[in-house]
């Protein structure tokens, strides 16, 4: 038996997230267990103490995110996991982490909403909330895996991006991928890139906690390491002290956003299938992309030139790529388990150049390949007529 087969194992999406986070160096988890993310908390509760880490079950999700912000400030890579109702409660402190530049990762395994919705049913209704749930212009990176192995990889990547850019990162899963079990072979620890935050190279007396370096990301001194500084959600100067100075304010808010906007090449990841000659592009993410891939393969058998574009980073929006695809495609089909949240963004970028069509379901079950194929046929027929 080959080594690869020996190492292949059946793993659940949520389990892969927990293992990925641990491999990336996460040693603190605070959370309030909620379906369909509960397995992440269960596994972290068991694994973290053995690795010298800490797990705390908090009284609610507001406290959970507050706890991981505190732990991260103290120098420990930190993560929490939740679903829609808990994600809503976390919004205020996501803004705080963005403003105070505290690296944290929030896993949101989406279930049907709004409110408590259908706890065990999948949805993709938090796509816009993950970008704009907290108030004010703010940086955030949102990743969305479509397989168990990718859940592992993106968990590692989420932690790395949070540390590198000092931003909150949302790992936006859905119930299907969270609970899916499939065959995976995990990378050996040496294969993984693990990023740690940049620490100051000057002494405490010269340290400017919010004085930006080359990438616009200030070096981060861990609390308890001899550096004393002020951390606030108020607009602040490079020393961290609150100010209403318009020049300082504009500079800060733009720098926070520029950490993302000036590093898109490093942040964005996506995949494609049959895009080279695609006349109809299906743009899908998360579990929906699996149905879309099947539909694209089936459409090709019928002579419909379909291709799949799958962003693994949802935010920042893959503006350039979608714009380029729109140049050559007669239509872009966007299947989602919501009423068209991401489609609106695709329309913003591609709408003047091509037709953008949604396939939307909010009944708590995964969109099927047949539903997407039917829409592909419809678009194909429409194009043939016109």
């Amino acid at each position: 038996m080959s080594r690869v087969i020996e190492m292949a194992r059946l793993m659940q999406g949520n389990e892969a997230v927990a293992e990925g986070a641990l491999a990336a160096g996460v040693r603190f988890f605070a959370g309030y267990p909620i379906t369909p993310s509960t397995e992440i908390a269960e596994i972290m509760a068991e694994r973290l103490p053995r690795l010298g880490g800490k797990f705390i079950q908090m009284e609610d999700e507001i406290a959970s995110i507050a706890a991981i912000i505190g732990a991260s400030l103290a120098g420990v890579k930190s993560i929490t996991a939740t679903s829609g109702p808990g994600f809503s409660l976390m919004q205020e402190n996501i803004g705080f982490a963005a403003m105070a530049e505290v690296p944290i990762v929030i896993v949101n395994v989406q279930r049907s909403g709004p409110s408590t919705g259908m706890p065990t049913a999948p949805a993709q209704g938090d796509v816009m909330q993950s970008r704009w749930g907290t108030h004010g212009d703010h940086p955030v990176i949102v990743l969305s895996p479509s397989s168990v192995r990718e859940a592992y990889d993106l968990a590692v990547r989420s932690v790395n991006l949070a540390e590198k850019y000092r931003v909150p990162v949302v790992l936006l899963m859905d119930e299907v991928i969270g609970h899916l079990r499939e065959k995976v072979v995990l990378p050996s620890p040496g294969e993984l890139e693990v990023v740690n935050r940049v620490e100051p190279d000057v002494g405490p007396e010269k340290y400017l906690p919010f004085g930006a370096g080359d990438q616009g990301v200030p070096p981060m001194a861990n609390f308890g390491s001899g550096y004393r500084y002020h951390v606030t959600g108020l607009v602040h100067d490079p020393k961290g002290l609150p100010t209403n100075n318009p020049v300082v304010a504009e500079k800060l808010i733009k720098r926070l956003q520029n950490k993302i906007d000036l590093n898109l090449d490093d942040i964005m990841i996506d995949t494609g299938k049959n895009l080279e000659d695609a006349e109809i592009v299906v743009l899908a993410y998360g579990a929906t992309a699996r149905s879309a891939l099947q539909a694209v393969k089936d459409a090709r058998k019928e002579g419909i030139k379909a291709g799949l574009y799958r962003p693994a980073v949802l935010w920042p929006f893959p503006q350039q790529k979608v714009g380029a695809l729109a140049e050559n495609a007669r239509a872009v089909l966007v299947p989602e388990m919501n009423l068209g949240q991401y489609r609106l963004e695709v329309e913003r970028v591609a709408g003047e150049r091509t037709r953008v069509v949604g396939v939307n379901r909010v009944h708590g079950e995964l969109i099927t390949p047949e539903e997407i194929l039917a829409a592909l046929r419809e678009v194909h027929k429409h194009d043939a007529r016109s």
Binding site: I5, V176, R181, E182, A287, L366
Partner: protein, 182 residues
């Protein structure tokens, strides 16, 4: 195209069907195949409809759900009523007669009626292992996973100290299937 099997195990929450699906998927990997397991269940800890789906094949599995199972296990009347019509032509339907009393007309599939839960309760002494009895019966009737891989996968996923109980349950399921195969 390689060979592909799509299984749906259905019944009531608490019968252990999700675990049963996980064990079959695990066994398939031990057999050197590709597999995927997904589930659909209600918010209740016990009761409510529950189903666990497994796809086994040699190739990549894109869409992870099962629309037309070629192996269908029904362990409650509700599951039987809901899913009997979904079965693929030429498929196999395994019915737990302990809880399923009325069977709709099934065309184009072979139906095996066996008292799975009652066997667990009366032969093994614990109804809680009905899911493992079902596993033995599925493996014997369909051959989707090998007996060796299934035993390994089972022993890897049960609480310590319950090995004997589970082994016996698996054997009971195997033997139960023999009674309807001959």
């Amino acid at each position: 195209m390689g060979e592909r099997n799509e299984l749906r195990l259905s019944g009531t929450g608490g019968q252990g069907l999700i675990l049963a699906g996980i064990i079959i998927a695990d066994a398939a990997i031990r057999d050197g195949k590709n597999s995927i397991q997904s589930q659909s269940y209600g918010p209740e800890a016990r009761g409510g409809a529950s189903r666990s789906e497994v796809i086994i094949g040699d190739e990549d599995i894109d869409y992870p759900k099962v629309n037309k199972p070629d192996v269908l296990l029904v362990m409650s009347q509700e599951a039987c009523d809901k899913f009997a019509a979904d079965i693929e032509q030429g498929g196999v339907m395994i019915v737990d007669t302990t809880y399923v009393h009325t069977l709709p007309e099934i065309n184009g599939a072979v139906v095996y009626k066996i008292p799975i839960s009652m066997t667990a309760k009366e032969e093994i002494g614990k109804e809680i292992v009905a899911n493992v009895v079902a596993l033995g019966a599925i493996a014997r009737i369909t051959g989707v996973v090998s007996r060796e891989a299934l035993t390994e996968a089972l022993l890897a996923r049960i609480p310590k100290g319950t090995e004997e109980l589970n082994r016996k349950a698996l054997e009971a399921g195997w033997a139960l299937a023999e009674t309807v195969l001959h």
